[in-house]
């Protein structure tokens, strides 16, 4: 569906992003920094799923992206609640 070189470039960029975010998770002085990095890993993962879906001509790729975009912020909201110890 898309040229192989484009898929390689996009996956390479997103892989660099995930590696840098993992570095921040390992280094992060507070739990909040690790949570921000986890948020970025989720966003990069949406991109990786999109490229694989296009490359293998999977019809459901836009549905997967839609669900991930609509419900993805719940993970970071729950991490924020967790940081505050369940208080508002």
């Amino acid at each position: 569906m898309i040229p192989d070189i484009v898929a390689a470039i996009v996956l390479g960029l997103l892989a660099i992003a995930v590696v840098l975010a993992v570095v921040r998770v390992a280094m992060g002085p507070t739990a909040g920094d690790s949570a921000v990095a986890a948020d970025l890993i989720f966003f990069a993962f949406i991109g990786i799923v999109a490229v694989f879906g296009l490359q293998f001509s999977i019809d459901a790729v836009i549905d997967i992206i839609l669900i991930a975009a609509v419900l993805g912020f719940l993970s970071i909201l729950s991490l924020a609640r967790l940081l505050q110890g369940g208080q508002r």
């Binding site: 296009l54 993805g72 970071i76 991490l79």
Partner: protein, 131 residues
């Protein structure tokens, strides 16, 4: 045939641009000095990058149904990434993550101090009336 090539080039450019924006957010995540600047980098850049990638997918795999789903996904992404960043930065502030020392106006601390003063002032006024 020609239009096909144009669509492929345009969609591929959108995909690469979105991935580059997400990677720039990751570079900011490593290089920026404190939690709030990192949250800012991820919240703005990653939300925009995912929106660009969704646009690229819709361009490459076009149908009216995909266009509607893509628009819903982009609007939801742009709305909710900012909510997530806000909640996370607020949680970091409440749990005592200090901003970098070059942050000059700390308006949250000032308004918190002001609120406490105002509340104690009200209390004394109320006590005075009761007496």
């Amino acid at each position: 045939m020609n239009a096909d090539i144009l669509v492929t080039v345009f969609g591929s450019a959108l995909l690469i641009l979105g991935a580059a924006v997400i990677t720039s957010a990751a570079v900011g995540l490593v290089k920026l000095p404190d939690l709030y600047t990192r949250t800012s980098a991820v919240g703005t850049a990653a939300g925009l990058g995912v929106a660009l990638i969704i646009t690229g997918v819709v361009v490459l795999d076009f149908s009216v149904l995909n266009l509607i789903k893509g628009l819903i996904a982009i609007v939801a992404q742009l709305l909710t990434s900012s909510i997530g960043s806000f909640a996370l930065a607020r949680a970091g502030y409440l749990t005592g993550s200090r901003p970098v020392s070059t942050t000059v106006p700390d308006e949250l601390a000032e308004s918190a101090a002001h609120n406490t003063l105002g509340r104690s002032g009200e209390d004394t006024v109320h006590k005075g009336q009761a007496d």
